[in-house]
C-alpha cells in the first residue's frame, strides 16, 4: 500500500517507522525545515519537506496513487483540510485524521473523513479503565459497524448477580463478548451466571448504552 502521512511530530515519526517496517511504501510530509532535517537523517527519502495542505506538494508526493492519507499534525483544522483536499482533489479512498480536540469528532464525520483517532480520548479511557471505582468505560468506537466497545464492572448491588444471561434483559444490538473473572477470561453463553466484580466487555449501539448500564446496575 502507498501511504502519505502529513505532519512529522512524534506520532507521524513513529507511525512512519512502523508502517515502513510492515513493508508499506510511506511518504512523510513535514513543513518545518529544522524538523525535516532531523527526520531525514533517520528516515532518508521517506520524508519530504512540504505542507500537506498544499495541492502542489500533494501532487508531487503522488497523492493520486495513494491508498491512504493520514493527517497527524497538532492542529485539527490542518488535519481536516489535508483529508478533504486528498479526497476531493486526488480521489484518495481512505483518509484518517488525528483529533487533538475530541469535540471535533462530529464535524469530521459529517465532512466525510473516513476515520478519526483521538489520542486525548483514548488516554482518558485507558486511565478511566484503571480507576477501580469506575463502573462503565467506553473503550473504542467501531465506526463502520456503528457500535461501541465498552467495559462494565458489576457492583455489589447489581440486580443481575446470581442470574444467568438468559434471565437478563439486554438491549437490542448488544452482545457480551467476554467476562473477566479473577483474571480469567470467560466466553459467555446464555447459561453463564453473573457474579460481583465481573468485568464485562460488550459491543453495544450508542443508543443502547444507557440500557445496558441500567440492566447491570452499573450506573456509577
Amino acid at each position: 500500500m502507498y501511504i502519505i502521512i502529513g505532519g512529522g511530530g512524534d506520532i507521524g515519526y513513529y507511525l512512519t517507522k512502523t508502517l515502513l517496517n510492515q513493508g508499506h511504501e510511506v511518504l512523510l510530509l513535514e513543513k518545518d525545515a529544522a524538523r525535516y532535517q532531523a527526520l531525514s537523517e533517520e528516515l532518508g527519502e521517506a520524508v519530504v519537506r512540504g505542507d500537506a495542505c498544499e495541492a502542489r506538494v500533494m501532487e508531487d508526493a503522488g497523492a493520486k496513487r495513494a491508498d491512504v492519507v493520514i493527517a497527524v499534525t497538532g492542529e485539527d483544522d490542518d488535519n481536516l483540510v489535508i483529508c478533504q483536499m486528498a479526497k476531493r482533489r486526488f480521489n484518495v479512498n481512505r483518509t484518517i485524521a488525528r483529533l487533538n480536540n475530541p469535540k471535533h469528532e462530529k464535524i469530521f464525520q459529517k465532512l466525510g473523513i473516513d476515520i478519526t483517532v483521538s489520542p486525548t480520548k483514548a488516554i482518558l479511557s485507558l486511565i478511566e479503565a484503571e480507576i477501580p471505582t469506575t463502573r462503565f468505560v467506553p473503550l473504542m468506537k467501531l465506526r463502520r459497524a456503528g457500535l461501541d466497545f465498552v467495559e462494565l464492572r458489576i457492583p455489589a448491588e447489581s440486580p443481575t448477580i446470581g442470574k444467568t444471561l438468559r434471565e437478563i434483559n439486554l438491549p437490542r444490538n448488544s452482545n457480551l463478548a467476554l467476562i473477566v473473572r479473577n483474571n480469567q477470561p470467560i466466553i459467555p453463553n446464555a447459561d453463564t451466571v453473573i457474579q460481583e466484580d465481573d468485568e464485562i466487555f460488550a459491543l453495544v449501539s450508542p443508543e443502547g448504552e444507557d440500557a445496558i448500564r441500567k440492566a447491570f446496575g452499573a450506573l456509577g
Binding site: C53, E54, D77, V81, R88, K110
Partner: protein
C-alpha cells in the same frame, strides 16, 4: 441582522465597524485581545476571546442565532474549518470564507462553500491596472483622489 465575524485583523475589524455602524448586531472573535483595539472606540458589538474552531466559543458568540458568519483570520485552514462548522452544525444561512490559497479556494468553492480569494482578486486588479492605457490609469487615479 446578527453577524458573527471570526478574526479581528485589518479586514475583520473594518468589516465589524462597518456592520456595527450600519446598525447590525455584531460579535467578533479573536484569540488575541490586542486585536480588538482595531475596533472603533464606540463599537457597540461583542468581542469574544478564543479559538474560532471551538464550538463552545462560537456558541458564546451567538452562532446559534446568527444570520451570517464571516471567517477572516489569517489562517486558511482555520477559516475553512470554522465556516464548515457554521454551515453544517449550526446551519447559518449566509457563510463566507476567506482563503488566500487559490487552489484551496477553488476546491472549497466546488464543495459548496461561499469563498473569496484576495490573492486572485488582488492580482487581477493589478494586472488590469498594469495593462490599461496610461491615460485611463491617470483618470482612474484622479477619480480615486476625488
Amino acid at each position: 441582522m446578527k453577524i458573527v465575524i471570526l478574526g479581528c485583523g485589518r479586514v475583520g475589524a473594518t468589516l465589524a465597524n462597518m456592520m456595527d455602524r450600519a446598525g447590525h448586531q455584531v460579535s467578533v472573535i479573536d484569540y488575541s485581545s490586542e486585536a480588538f483595539q482595531r475596533l472603533d472606540p464606540d463599537f457597540k458589538g461583542e468581542t469574544i476571546l478564543g479559538n474560532g474552531v471551538d464550538e463552545d466559543i462560537l456558541i458564546r458568540a451567538g452562532i446559534k442565532e446568527a444570520d451570517a458568519f464571516a471567517a477572516v483570520t489569517n489562517g486558511d485552514n482555520r477559516n475553512i474549518m470554522a465556516s464548515q462548522i457554521a454551515k453544517e452544525i449550526f446551519h447559518v444561512k449566509k457563510v463566507v470564507c476567506r482563503i488566500y490559497d487559490p487552489i484551496r479556494e477553488r476546491t472549497y468553492h466546488e464543495l459548496g462553500l461561499e469563498t473569496f480569494c484576495p490573492t486572485t482578486i488582488g492580482a487581477q486588479m493589478l494586472a488590469e491596472v498594469l495593462l490599461s492605457e496610461p491615460t485611463a490609469a491617470k483618470a482612474a487615479r484622479q477619480d480615486e483622489k476625488q
